[in-house]
Amino acid sequence: MSGLIIEPPREGPDPAVTPNLHRASEQWGAGRAQARERVDWEAWRERAREIRADAVRHLPELIELLEARMVAAGGHVHHARDGEEACAHIVAICRQAGATLAVKGKSMTSEEIGLGAALAHAGIEAVETDLGEYVVQALGSRPSHLLAPAVHLSAAQVAELFARESGREFDPDDTAALVRYARDALRGRFLTAGVGITGVNLAVAETGTLAIVESEGNIRLSTALPRVHIALMGIEKVIRDWEGAAHLVQMLPLAAHGKMAAASTSFITGPARDGDDGPQEVHLVLLDGGRSAIRGTPFEEALHCIRCGACLYACPVYRQVGGHGYGSTYSGPIGAVITPLLAGDGTGDEAGDATGDGLRGSSLPAYSSLCGACVEACPVKIPLDDQLVMLRARAHRGDPARGEAALFAAWARLWSRPSTYRATAATAGRALRPLWSALARDGWQRHAPFPFSGWTEGRDARAPDPEPFHVRWRRRRGDA
């Protein structure tokens, strides 16, 4: 089972998405621009790219070193070929610890493997402790951004949820009161949970150290109070040494929101010792999940990603549709690249097949205007636009739909000439309009009839305009 591909939302667009997203992307964009004046941004990007390229190129040996050093420090390391194995490891560790309650930090990797469902199935309650994730979990929603999981929700929705939970009234404009409620509601969970589960931002192979950055302090609590700490990490997050770590722990917040440092950065080398009050056991679950297969292919650079989220807010498509529009765990430009890669065999040749939903995964690279804003935003210089183009090409190579190719060729011939274009466009519009309108709601077509049904499986379509642009143009110029 893979949690990578998720059904697209069938309900209409959330009215909160657009204003929230736009505000967020503007704020974060301004912060990033400011921060870039403080450092030699291009030199910093190049250095970050080198560190990540070195890590991915030497991945097997660095993973081996990380494991050896972490075990020497008293930690435990578990290897998982796929999400199912990773979930099984985590469930087994929780059971062995006798834990029925786990506090969980934000981790997209845990979303990728469907950890929440696996723990629930095993009878282990896993409470999301990041404020945004807590809200998203309580509302039965899914995170819509790598770093800002609740960016698609409004304060009013949060206030309503907390009121329902507590029986108290909340003013949506009193954000501080909402945050205070979440703090109080979760404090008891931190104190009683047997296990803390977190992701990992990077791991230093040389010393077996896990680095985790955060804003809220929930990671620090999850790695201070429960008796057992389980860290889940995609294998590509390992880096060689501390010199690289010093650069990347600054690059990550700088690329994400323009701050010079995250509010907290934890460096964990094995369990508590020397009378320290941390966890007695530290487990690292290393997930391959299709990553190894991407090494050595033209898509290898996609593994350099440090999950800062910069390409999401930079992307005009993401800003319009939001994270949920992609229907996948990872959204935005990087999501459109790695989703088909992780779901397939890494080469992109059979993109999406492993999920049993080939269409979904392999169609994601089309969610881009190829404007290149993502490439400029990327702190490790992943050529996302090139990769999107390559994935598009591969999705259609050996395409059995010969009929589709012939149709497009005929269409291209007809619509390349003004005379044939006018004749056919007007006819098509007149013919389709009544049928389309009968099935559309608020001008949006959600379930088009065959042969157009495939188109609306993953997206809504606008009804055709009764008056094509070229007709309106002629009329307005008065020479119609």
Binding site: N20, R23, A24, A72, A73, T129, L131, G132, V135, A148, P149, A150, V151, S154, A155, V158, T175, A176, L178, V179, A182, R183, R187, E206, T207, T209, S215, E216, G217, N218, R220, L221, T223, A224, L225, W242, E243, A245, A246, V249, Q250, K259, M260, A261, A263, S264, T265, S266, F267, I268, T269, G270, P271, A272, R273, D274, G275, D276, D277, G278
Partner: protein
Amino acid sequence: MPEYPLDEFRARLEELDGSLHEAPSLTAARATAADLIGAATVARWRDDILDGIVTREQQAPAVEAEISLIVADVGVAATGAVGFVHRAGRPRSAGLLPPTQVVLLDAADLVADVASAFEHVGLRNGAGPLPGNVVFAAGPSRTSDIEQRSIRGVHAPRDLAVVIFSR
């Protein structure tokens, strides 16, 4: 190395909504900390530097205390962060659970950048085991999860005061 690391440290820390208090001596730093704390209940680390700041009656377990009184192992001018090496007598929970944090920092432990800070607290390649847990805190904990409104203090401290002193 910037010419005035203390000015840079102050600027970065204040940007992040932390406050910096300068003291000419350890004795003065203790007095400043005592002023900041007042009559509040305190969870403190075991360290000579912190002696004589709060009364025995003021001391409380970390889960109940209003203020944590701790010592930074390093300060980072470039980021405004303070670093803590957790070990015996310096538990993670004491610096984490109380909503307000008062941190003493020896000016000799202020370094220019992140790489120097790692070196300073023993996070480096090579021989010997590393400290089990090192945390760098840059300003109070914060969230922008609700409509991007920035709010201080979520699960970790809401207020952070650093008292820097020379010996």
